[in-house]
């Protein structure tokens, strides 16, 4: 084995001996060129840890370019895993371990390092020309970045991979593609993860390519052994496994969980699921997932544009399916007019908006919460819709289930907000038992029991929902459309009083949904000095901030909203219960303003960041503590 190269920047550390530290949680960040396979290393490591019994939360951070120039700063792709023996809510702020396959990866990730982070590098990719590509001026990248205290494990990964695969007869390029497995092997050693699990995962991933499996396993083992043999002077970590509820588990990201939630809603309703979509980052994986679920009869289809995506979904609902369309902010803008049609036609429709950085094309691969106002109000006319926001990757399942349920039972478009962060982030997920989920009952026209003859806009007096006469049903042929209809006859009407009545009715129908959704829950201290308010994908960070403050003896509570429109019935009561309230969100204050417009006299503190990156828990704690102490 080649010797471990030690940079002088870590000399202080050499005095210490290797030690095994038992930690509650740890953050590992894999990073390299977008072609280096870091996403795969990260995924396998997080799955291994989940199977081992750790709590996990992951987040891939990839560039917008598919293949930026090799070694360049813009081409760095990362995958962060947070694992722990207790509940993990976020992928973590900073890394305890960073794998940097080239100098660009090191430079880009400096902001994620702690003073004692273990940095694993491939010295073969830290040559002069590599440093130049990453715009280093000197040949001491660590010194240049001011990293004087990190623990560096510097291994000639590329050459060892080539050497290790010599007998496989692979060409240079194919051999080097296995580099990511060497890094994974090293990380497995660092965390005392037995390799059997990784080998099993590799075997199933490359089941059809036994040659690749063998090469990858060889390199993985080499990486592990290398760590073991060099007797490297770095800490190794042990994360105890956590007692988890018995059951079957899988690793799921938000987009997948969301797709499953839609399937579950359709299954419970006895409806066919129809997805009309158009590729757009970061929502496309929903189209990928649902286009593959043909065994369930799901019609998951790609159309010519965003408008066709929503239009086909509306058509499918008119014909009796659960129509869904999936998109991101720019696509939601294009769909606005059609969503208005579903509002006035009162048809079920789920519109999934996986939010990304905006405006315009903005930051396609980054995360924001800037589409809230668009979801609530971004249509012509008075056109209320239900708005729901998913809180975590696994909550995407429940949120999507609710979106489908409310759309069908209340004959309305539902906009389901996710974001790039939870869509791509993943965690271990206990497979849901659908028997424990509420029923989904479509209000079919044959349920109409009124005295007057049935018309398309006859309503259930309790819910104000019109009955669904699915195309092809004998006895219920009817015409609907985008023109205002008469409340009684359902014929076209431009009559002034009727329009006022229909506008009020459509609004009241949505408002009444508050009777059918769960109340807002508050976690934390009942006598808190500060109530943290959030919505959507920031839940994990806000919860962790609350816990940290708690540990420091501060009295805080968290109210996190999943149901945005209508708001849960107890919203006002909860918000007025606390002396100080801070609304934290990744926009310029859209939810805070929305709450203010709904609750007279409500005047919260606001915490707003619009960086395209997740909140940083330590910053939240700092700011919230200031408010408490103010």
């Amino acid at each position: 084995m080649p010797p471990l190269i030690v940079y002088n920047t870590i000399l202080y550390f050499m005095a210490e001996q290797t030690k095994v530290m038992t930690l509650e949680k740890v953050v590992v960040r894999f990073s390299g060129d977008s072609g280096d396979g870091m996403q795969l290393s990260g995924t396998i490591f997080s799955n291994l840890s989940a199977i081992f019994g750790n709590e996990i939360s992951t987040f891939p951070d990839f560039p917008a370019e598919i293949r930026a120039p090799q070694g360049s700063l813009s081409g760095v792709s990362g995958f962060q895993v947070h694992l722990g023996s207790r509940k993990i809510f976020t992928p973590g702020d900073k890394a305890d371990v960073l794998v940097a396959m080239n100098p660009a990866a090191l430079k880009v990730n400096v902001k994620y390092l702690k003073p004692d982070t273990i940095v694993i590098i491939d010295t073969d990719s830290f040559k002069k020309e590599d440093l130049e590509k990453a715009q280093f001026a000197t040949d001491d990248p660590f010194g240049e970045l001011g990293l004087t205290t990190v623990q560096v494990v510097a291994a000639p990964v590329s050459s060892m991979v080539k050497e290790g695969l010599a007998e496989f007869g692979l060409d240079n390029k194919s051999a080097l593609r296995c580099k990511n497995m060497f890094a994974l092997g090293l990380v497995c050693w660092l965390f005392e993860r037995p390799l059997e699990g990784a080998i099993h995962l590799l075997e199933s991933k490359f089941a059809k390519k036994p040659g690749i499996v063998k090469a990858n396993i060889k390199v993985l083992t080499d990486g592990y052994n290398y760590g073991n043999n060099i007797d490297a002077s770095v800490s190794t970590y042990r994360i105890e496994s956590k007692k988890t509820a018995p059951g079957f588990y899988t690793d799921v990201n938000g987009n997948k969980a969301l797709s499953y939630g839609l399937i579950a809603a359709a299954e419970k309703a006895g409806l066919r699921l129809f997805l009309g979509s158009y590729p757009i980052t970061p929502a496309t994986d929903i189209l990928h997932e649902l286009s593959g679920r043909k065994e369930l009869g799901v019609k998951g289809l790609q159309f010519e544009d965003e408008i066709a995506g929503v239009s086909t979904a509306i058509g499918a609902s008119f014909a009796g399916a659960l129509g869904v369309t999936s998109t991101s902010g720019p696509g939601l803008a294009l769909k606005s007019e059609a969503i208005g049609l579903a509002v006035i036609a009162e048809l079920p429709l789920v519109v999934v908006d996986v939010q990304r950085g905006g405006p315009s094309t903005g930051l396609p691969t980054k995360s924001e919460q800037t589409d809230l106002m668009q979801a609530l109000y971004g249509r012509n006319g008075e056109s209320p819709v239900v708005v729901i926001a998913a809180a975590t990757p696994t909550d995407c399942f429940d949120a999507a289930f609710w979106a489908g349920k409310l759309a069908v039972e209340h004959m309305t478009p539902v906009i389901l907000l996710s974001d790039s962060f939870i869509a791509n982030g993943s965690s271990a997920w206990k497979l849901p038992d659908l028997d424990t989920y509420p029923a989904v009952k479509p209000p079919y026209a044959d349920q109409y029991k009124g005295e007057q003859v049935w018309k398309p806009y006859r309503r259930n007096p309790d819910t104000l929902v019109r009955y669904w006469a699915v195309s092809g049903t004998e006895g219920f042929a009817h015409r609907i459309g985008g023109l205002e209809k008469d409340y009684n006859t359902s014929a076209i009407s431009t009559e002034a009083m009727n329009h006022q009545k229909m506008v009020e009715t459509r609004q009241a129908k949505i408002d009444r949904i508050a009777e059918f959704i769960p109340a807002l829950e508050v976690s934390g201290d009942t006598d808190a000095d500060l109530l943290i308010v959030g919505w959507g994908g920031t839940y994990g960070h806000l919860y962790e901030a609350m816990e940290t403050m708690h540990e420091r003896g501060l009295k805080v509570a968290l109210a996190h909203f999943k149901f945005i429109n209508p708001l849960p019935k107890n919203t006002e009561e909860v918000l007025k219960r606390y002396g100080k309230v801070v609304v934290a969100e990744q926009n310029k204050g859209q939810f805070a303003n929305y709450l203010r417009s709904n609750i007279a006299g409500f005047n919260p503190y606001k915490f707003n960041r619009v960086k395209g990156q997740p909140f940083v828990v330590s910053r939240l704690v700092e700011e919230f503590t200031k408010i408490v102490e103010e």
């Binding site: 509820a245 059951g247 899988t250 066919r272 043909k294 065994e295 086909t312 609902s317 609907i480």
Partner: protein, 337 residues
């Protein structure tokens, strides 16, 4: 003995008062659709008529079937959703030249390309009527309208050329004043499996009166149009004395018995020919040549809605999972005991 029709044209009419202007060509086309449906015999509740925005798009309200008057330009996309979700329904798209070829151009070409089994009735009056008289994408270059006071400086679409360019398999053209043939063409369009486009030249009595007059007037209709029927000679004229022949790579109108042309020289219409070359030439005839009417192209091809359902059946034959739980259990799952 002729079989009695299951449904009469009356059965497809709704109780709504028709609100088109008196003398509008749309009235006649509506009647033709009612009659064609009676001829086809599909139960009214198994028919869905989807329209966009414009004068003609009011049509669903006058049907006793399922109907959806949607938004501008999107009828083809919404109808694609209806048909793909429910391939057993007879789905019609009612649209105009502005709705279909301007704001809805993208959905139109893609519905045609995919070959969704839709019956698309394209009402072409070469004007925006509902917004009171602006030029449309089928208005001739130089056309003077409220939005082109000095005449347009753009070329029009020829719907047939667009439909065939989008790899359409069924295209027919007809005129509002010819009720018998229009009815027949609609019935043929509905029987065709796949996207069928029927362009009806309609007169807008208010904003574009007489735009098709040079073709549709009884006085010269026989001379200026040719009604094509599959398997029949391409003859036209008052006494069918004229016909079409191929002259090199071009079509030529000749008189039988003149200049050495005999009946044997006249082309026979083959609507089922896959090669679009001749269909395109026929569709584009104008000026000295008669305008082609009737079913110009009708070619069998796999249709989208059936293919989507077929693929599901294929996967289901191999994969027994029918619930979400079964699907999830097949994935990478571990058990905690």
């Amino acid at each position: 003995m002729e079989e009695a029709l299951k449904y009469q044209a009356q059965d497809y009419k709704s109780d709504q008062h028709v609100r088109w202007c008196p003398g509008c060509g749309d009235h006649a086309v509506l009647n033709c659709i009612h009659k064609a449906m009676a001829e086809l015999g599909t139960a009214p509740h198994n028919v869905a008529v989807i329209s966009g925005i414009g004068c003609s798009s009011r049509l669903p309200y006058y049907m006793n079937s399922y109907g959806f008057h949607t938004i501008h330009g999107r009828a083809a996309a919404i109808a694609t959703g209806v048909k793909t979700a429910r391939p057993d329904l007879s789905v019609w798209v009612v649209t105009g030249d502005g709705d279909c070829l301007a704001i809805g151009g993208n959905h139109f070409i893609h519905a045609v390309r995919r070959n969704v089994n839709l019956n698309i009735a394209l009402f072409n009056n070469k004007i925006y009527g509902l917004t009171k008289g602006q030029y449309s994408p089928t208005s001739e270059r130089g056309f003077v309208s409220k939005s082109s006071p000095f005449g347009t400086v753009e070329e029009p679409f020829i719907p047939a050329e667009l439909a065939l360019g989008a790899r359409g398999n069924f295209f027919a053209r007809t005129i509002d004043v010819d009720l018998k043939n229009t009815t027949e063409v609609f019935a043929e369009a509905a029987r065709h499996k796949g996207a069928s486009v029927v362009e009806v030249l309609v007169n807008c009595v208010i904003f574009n009166h007489g735009i098709h007059k040079h073709i549709t007037d009884k006085e010269y209709r026989a001379e200026r149009t040719i009604f094509l029927r599959h398997g029949e000679k391409m003859l036209f004229g008052k006494d069918n004395e004229k016909g079409l022949v191929l002259d090199g790579l071009k079509l030529k109108a000749v008189t039988v018995g003149k200049d050495g042309y005999t009946l044997d020289d006249i082309l026979v219409h083959d609507a089922h020919e896959k090669d679009i070359a001749l269909h395109l030439m026929l569709s584009l005839m104008k000026d000295d040549m008669p305008l082609a009417l009737g079913v110009i192209r009708e070619v069998e091809a796999p249709c989208y809605d059936e293919a989507v359902a077929g693929q599901i059946a294929e996967v289901q034959a191999k994969n027994p999972a029918r619930t979400l739980k079964e699907v999830l259990m097949k994935g990478e799952v571990w058990e905690v005991k």
